[in-house]
């Protein structure tokens, strides 16, 4: 097993707020890792640092051999390896579903229209939205929009995908359809790192779970750690959260 993402002792502050206090973990190829923790524990920040949406103050991050902490890192290269899906979908509202997916294929990967369309239809089928290709984002439900966002990211064939609380903005009945897509991706061998509040999902699907507390990795384990937390903090978090 080779590590696709290596995070080594990273620190990050926003002003006087020390958000990450020496976080380390690795994500191996084909692994699905779920990061859980209370809000403010730094889990989303850690995820955003990996795609360099935030820069770290200290430590190392390596993604597919690319040193993300290097100030001269080729962001273009990094972002072709990393896909990210956000809580708020962030689809382009002026483009149809298909155009949303084709945009980067056409302008970044310089594909022909036909080639891009073929890939777009492929990933749309994969997330079960083949029939929505011509719809605009506002015509879709939140769950459908999030599945399009996953498809858009997937179309760029990243080596690792990051999910930042992708179901947090959804009604419970829409959460399931998004989680199902993510589960399929994991089953296909996609390397995934997700920040989530869906404990049952994390327990069932994730290879490993990382519990973050106050800017540190507090506990790491497989699904069973949620049944038998070793630290009082995780126990308290699970009791309050569920």
């Amino acid at each position: 097993m080779s590590a696709i993402v290596k995070v080594g002792d990273i620190h990050k502050s926003f002003g006087s707020n020390h958000v990450l206090k020496g976080v380390s973990f690795e994500v191996n190829k084909g692994e699905m890792i779920a990061v859980i923790g209370a809000s403010g524990s730094g889990k989303s920040t850690a995820l955003r640092c990996i795609d360099r949406l935030e820069t770290i103050d200290q430590g190392q991050i390596e993604v597919c051999g690319i040193r993300v902490d290097d100030p001269k890192v080729d962001l273009h290269l990094l972002r072709r390896e990393v896909g990210i899906v956000f809580q708020s979908y962030n689809l382009f509202p002026h483009l149809t579903v298909e155009e949303n997916i084709m945009l980067a294929l056409r302008h970044v990967k310089k594909m022909s229209r036909d080639e891009a369309r073929r890939i777009a239809m492929n990933v749309l089928e994969q997330v079960g939205l083949g029939q929505k290709a011509d719809a605009y984002p506002e015509q879709l439900s939140g769950g459908q929009q999030q599945r399009v966002a996953i498809a858009r990211s997937l179309a760029m064939s990243p080596k690792v995908m990051l999910f930042d609380e992708v179901t947090s903005a959804l009604d419970p009945q829409l959460t399931g359809e998004v989680l199902r897509v993510m589960e399929d991706l994991a089953a296909d061998g996609m390397t995934m790192l997700l920040v989530t509040h869906e404990m049952a999902f994390a327990k069932r699907v994730a290879d490993r779970i990382i519990y973050m507390h106050q800017g540190k990795v507090w506990e790491v384990g497989d699904g069973s750690m949620l049944d038998a937390p070793r630290t009082p903090e995780l126990r308290a978090f699970l009791d309050n959260g569920l």
Partner: protein, 217 residues
């Protein structure tokens, strides 16, 4: 002895509307190009460039258009560049509207949600691609009403070109008035012509704004 207002006077006035429109179009198109450049500079990640654009905007917005006209028309002629009045007026109006349009458009670009930039960035789109393919198409909806609103201002401001001798609607009115001296009638007519040009645009701008407000509710 002054005669009465004749149909040939009216024809002369109506024809001069053409020059008002030519000057307005020239100022708007050139100012649009300049304004786009000013907007790009203003949102540039290069701090010095953004600073230069800010100074430009603030300087121009603090100077009356009439003075800009004098600077361009009389200033250039001192150095031996005797430019035609149309060119001088077009240039002054371009400098003027670049600053205003640049500022209006910067505001519209900056009003676009930051996550749209972030999502584009994460798809490896370059900054320019993001602007061109994602941000500007969305910002245009927001920019259209104030841009048309500014065009209305611009049409009215072309009347200032009359002071450097460019014969547009206002100057034509002055010329007729100098010969028949019926200021109330003539300038009333001139005003009515401006109104006819501007009012539909104002209404259009307003209705677009109302639509925007509804869809943003």
């Amino acid at each position: 002895m002054s005669g009465g207002f004749t149909s040939s006077h009216l024809v002369y006035l109506v024809q001069s509307i053409g020059w008002t429109l030519v000057l307005s179009a020239l100022a708007f198109v050139l100012g649009g190009i300049g304004g786009f450049a000013v907007m790009l500079a203003r949102i540039s990640p290069r701090a010095w460039l953004a600073r230069v654009a800010l100074v430009y905007i603030e300087a121009i917005q603090g100077i009356p258009l009439l003075i800009l006209l004098f600077i361009v028309y009389f200033g250039l002629s001192v150095y031996g560049y005797q430019v035609p009045a149309l060119v001088a007026a077009g240039l002054a109006l371009m400098i003027y509207s670049s600053a205003y349009l640049g500022d209006i458009w910067r505001g519209c670009i900056e009003a676009m949600p930051k996550p749209q930039w972030e999502a584009s960035e994460c798809l490896s789109l370059t900054r320019w691609q993001t602007l061109r393919l994602v941000i500007i198409p969305q910002a245009m909806r927001l920019a259209l009403p104030p841009t048309v609103g500014f065009l209305v201002q611009l049409i009215k401001m072309t009347s200032l070109a009359s002071v450097i001798g460019f014969i547009e609607l206002t100057r034509a009115g002055q010329i007729i008035n100098n010969s028949i001296f019926q200021p109330f009638l003539i300038f009333g007519l001139v005003g009515a012509f401006y109104f006819v040009l501007c009012y539909p645009l104002s209404r259009w701008s307003q209705s677009m704004e109302n639509k925007l407000n509804v869809s943003n509710r």
